[in-house]
């Protein structure tokens, strides 16, 4: 059960009666929670480039967002500017918690489970986030980033800083499942709808053998295999 510290993520808490409507109106996926469910959504700029990837889940009256972005301060300012009198408040609780990734574990279940001080968030039956108070010691984390990368390549999982960045839109980095095709307007929606309807610029991730690496623009390089982004 390999475990890695996920220090790139920030943890945001959304409070107030308008919190769900607020997040839904600004991001690419439908923000609706099934029981213990997790919604991954994307905040885009007006050219549909990715500003932030946020994994959202409910904890009582709160919505918690595991947020991955290149500039968290700008992202928080962007969100605060959009509140406009709605009953929404945003707290950054990153410093109060550790967040780890658990991967390559056979029995990962989707959804959110709270166990004493730990909140476990299962993602697509592939990996888990574990959030626990930073006053507790960090648990058995590994620094073996290479193993994590190899696991990510074998499961074709795009990651921020590799496939995902502020230079690409969701259809250019394998995040199609985080774009809801039938929801109303959100920033970047017109561009994504045009790409989809004209089938232009759509991409998919592919694993290639490193023997072929010279012919491609590799986004994640492994020992024997790598991930590339290929136009469909």
């Amino acid at each position: 059960m390999p475990r890695m510290a996920f220090t790139d993520a920030r943890i945001l808490v959304f409070l107030g009666s308008d919190r769900q409507k607020f997040l839904d109106g600004l991001s690419s996926n439908k923000v609706e929670f099934e029981s213990n469910g997790v919604v991954t959504t994307l905040f885009l700029d007006n050219k549909a480039k990715i500003v932030a990837q946020v994994h959202l889940f409910c904890l009582g009256e709160l919505i918690i967002g595991i947020t991955i972005t290149e500039d968290s301060q700008s992202f928080l300012e962007y969100l605060n500017q959009k509140i406009l009198g709605q009953e929404v408040a945003i707290n950054d609780i990153t410093s109060l918690n550790h967040i780890d990734i658990i991967y390559d574990e056979p029995n990962i279940v989707d959804g959110v489970v709270a166990q004493s001080n730990h909140t476990i968030i299962g993602m697509n039956r592939l990996y888990q986030f574990d959030i626990y108070p930073s006053k507790l010691p960090r648990e058995n984390v590994s620094n073996d980033y290479q193993s994590f990368t190899e696991w990510r390549i074998s499961n074709l999982i795009p990651w921020y800083g590799y496939e995902i960045s502020s230079k690409v839109n969701p259809y250019q980095c394998g995040l199609n499942s985080h774009v809801h095709e039938n929801k109303g307007c959100y920033t970047g929606q017109e561009i994504l709808t045009r790409m989809r309807s004209r089938n232009k610029g759509m991409c998919e991730l592919e694993v290639i053998d490193n023997l072929e690496i010279d012919k491609h623009n590799v986004t994640t390089k492994g020992i024997e295999q790598s991930i590339i982004i290929k136009r469909v």
Binding site: I83, V88, P133
Partner: protein, 126 residues
Amino acid sequence: MDCGTCETAGPVIVQTPEVVNVELTITKNAESMLEQAFGDDKSMALLVGVLSGGCSGYMYDLQIVDDTDIDCQELSISGFRILVPNSSSHLLDGIEIDYEDRLMGGGFKINNPNAKSSCGCGESFA
């Protein structure tokens, strides 16, 4: 997980932007449409607000209301009561409310000097 609220749960404190005293204008076309909409009852008001969302990040919100619970500034322009929420006043100062009489894409339009860009349908701006 330490959510930071367990021991200190209190009312949600909403950040509000700086309130600006709004000045706005209404074109003749818009005035005549408002005359039709209001009729003789000038006690009603036109609420001109902004919501988050839409293709460009902000969306205009026009409503004819009796009154509202929203914290607003009230203007009187050409005999019409105009309400502008204080929370979106910084985005609406200097706007012109126009009406375009067209079969497709017609209706009330907002010309906003604060908007850097707007979406194709004109309902959303950044």
